[in-house]
Subunit: 349 residues, 2 copies
């Protein structure tokens, strides 16, 4: 196996969380790139911008004013994809034209009052506040909704339209495709092996070391064996934890610390504020709270698009959309690069 | 149902080809866009560029010279993700670290000797030549390989690094995720309903009309009921056809004509050479040639990213990657817009 992993030859790897395969063609990194080059993110973001609807004290699109917040701040998305009170369009059962009602709520959460910071540049205590708020939202929205999706789109490249540090929380009355698939895969694994898949996986990766990026007593971040995005990572607690709200105070502090370390390495990779989409997956909530969810393990996925530099991303296009995801370097190569980067942020060095 | 379709309220729709759901939140089109704006594609591409490795007579990266071709031209990708003779890295059976050998071949196919044309601007007879070559490649590579993926990445936005009109053909010794899923869904439908899913679907859509973009006696292009990309389309023959190579001469001519009509509408939508990734799915080949594939129906998927204008695309990011695909206008709205566009190309008007 070790031999194979160092070989740059194409092969397939299995993603047990999604029951699918990824094509690993490491030799593709040799091809020259003459395609689209991205604009690097803006370097000089003002700490406070009177026209930014996310800054403390400012007015938002709906005319409401933000409080003069000095930590995290949560509000309802002004253009929500999910609304709690939208008329129910009903369901259609026709096998070719099937529809279902969808209800929910979309919230935005500012991480910090300042626009010119990001998670890796925030103080550990400030990141803990973000985690506490995440846990609170999962708990609160989870009393009703089966799924509470916390996600962050960071950088214009990832569709983020506001540089102020923030994430989103969309809760829905349905289990979306991705968690439904992950639930099915983790359940099948648990039934077969008698242990949660990702708990076993974290143990094995901690022993193997070759895909570990950062670790601590409570947490582990690896480039998963089945990573599709070039520098994709999976962030896992080492203890069996179902949901964000189950994390102890120490585990939240440990999480803030490891997030800062991971995201600092990301920024240091190409010396740029690293774009990504990330999100948390934990055991479903709402009606699922009454069920046995032992097969679940809390985890975060980081999906960063950059491949070669601050301005050249990986395009998941034709072959990837129509056939199968394909990557241009091995997960081991990516993990090694990230692991060897300094833990001090390039902006504060 | 009709009422629901005209309502802008959020709902879920089922994709029977992928056994998954899409969140339709039409009211999201109202939100203002302050995010990333794309560069419009280059307007003035020279017909012949001595430095473009895809032009007739020029040298490619590996030192080989192109012939002075005057129609289509196929060659091996100089940086292939799949190689036929790569050493076999073997298989690993460990449930958490599973791998498999991957072999195949990657070809590039130029559509035309000129760099300044695209399919909608080519003559119908020239497009027929492209289709004939596709059919030939499916037949030829399909004698050995179970899957032959024809796909086109058009535009820099879709990772295309050369403006010369071309597509790619990647053949593999495995059935990739997407066709494997589609095969499973079509088989289950056939077993339950006794007719190929997409044959029935084409009939129903031709009757309903509301999602039809263009149609002819042999072909139909619709924005599928379950479309995820804003102006996604599905192009289908009306007869039961398993593979590209089974198309009659008349059907190939009809395909050339409808492709030109569809792609002209795409270009006319925002008066720009419309970026997309597209590809063909037909019954699997190689060892599958001996099996019954009656559940299959040949079809092409077009996945274009643009949402609001020539420079504002839909970002499939955080929620879409972590939870579920979400769209900002209904498929019926998209179909109506496309349907009402002129069939004469804005560049030749
Ligand atoms: O082979 P090309 O055209 O250089 O590359 C393009 O298409 C490939 C197949 O969809 C993708 O993997 C690449 O990310 C994309 O840039
Ligand atoms: O809600 P936002 O931040 O304006 O929008 C962003 O995130 C959403 C959820 O991933 C996506 O659907 C949008 O395409 C993207 O631009």
């Amino acid at each position: 196996l070790t031999d194979m992993l160092t070989l740059p030859h194409q092969h397939l790897r299995y993603n047990p969380l999604r029951d699918s395969w990824v094509l690993v063609s490491a030799h593709r990194m040799k091809r020259p790139w003459a395609g689209q080059v991205e604009r690097p993110p803006e370097e000089h973001i003002p700490r406070y911008d009177p026209n930014n609807p996310l800054c403390p004290g400012n007015k938002r699109a709906n005319g409401e004013g933000n409080p003069d917040y000095d930590s995290t701040f949560v509000f309802e998305n002004d253009f929500p994809a999910l609304q709690p009170d939208a008329p129910d369009p009903g369901s259609e059962q026709d096998p070719l034209f099937q529809s279902k009602a969808a209800r929910g709520v979309c919230k935005v959460m500012c991480f910090h009052p300042w626009s010119d910071v990001t998670l890796p540049l925030m103080k550990k205590e400030e990141v803990v506040k973000v985690i506490d708020k995440w846990a609170e939202l999962v708990e609160e929205l989870g009393t009703i909704y089966p799924w509470v999706q916390i996600f962050e789109n960071k950088g214009a490249m990832m569709g983020c339209s506001n540089p102020h540090p923030h994430c989103q929380v969309w809760a829905s009355n349905f289990l979306p495709n991705e968690p439904a698939l992950s639930d099915r895969c983790q359940r099948a694994y648990y039934q077969k092996h008698g242990e949660p898949m990702l708990l076993q996986y974290a143990k094995r990766e901690a022993e193997k070391k070759e895909r570990v990026v950062v670790e601590s007593s409570d947490w582990l971040a690896v480039v998963p064996y089945w990573a599709t995005w070039p520098y994709q990572t999976l962030l896992l607690p080492r203890r069996h934890v179902l949901r964000m709200s189950d994390l102890t105070t120490e585990e939240r502090e440990g999480l803030a610390a490891i997030m800062k370390r991971l995201l600092t390495k990301y920024d240091n990779l190409f010396e740029v504020s690293f774009p990504y989409s990330m999100g948390w997956h934990g055991a479903p909530t709402g009606p699922y709270l009454k069920e046995d969810n032992s097969h679940w393990q809390l985890h975060a996925h980081y999906y960063p698009p950059l491949l070669r530099s601050a301005t050249v991303k990986k395009f998941m296009v034709g072959y990837e959309m129509l056939a199968q995801e394909q990557r241009d370097l091995t997960p081991e190569q990516a993990a090694e690069k990230l692991r060897n980067l300094p833990e001090e942020h390039y902006k504060t060095r």
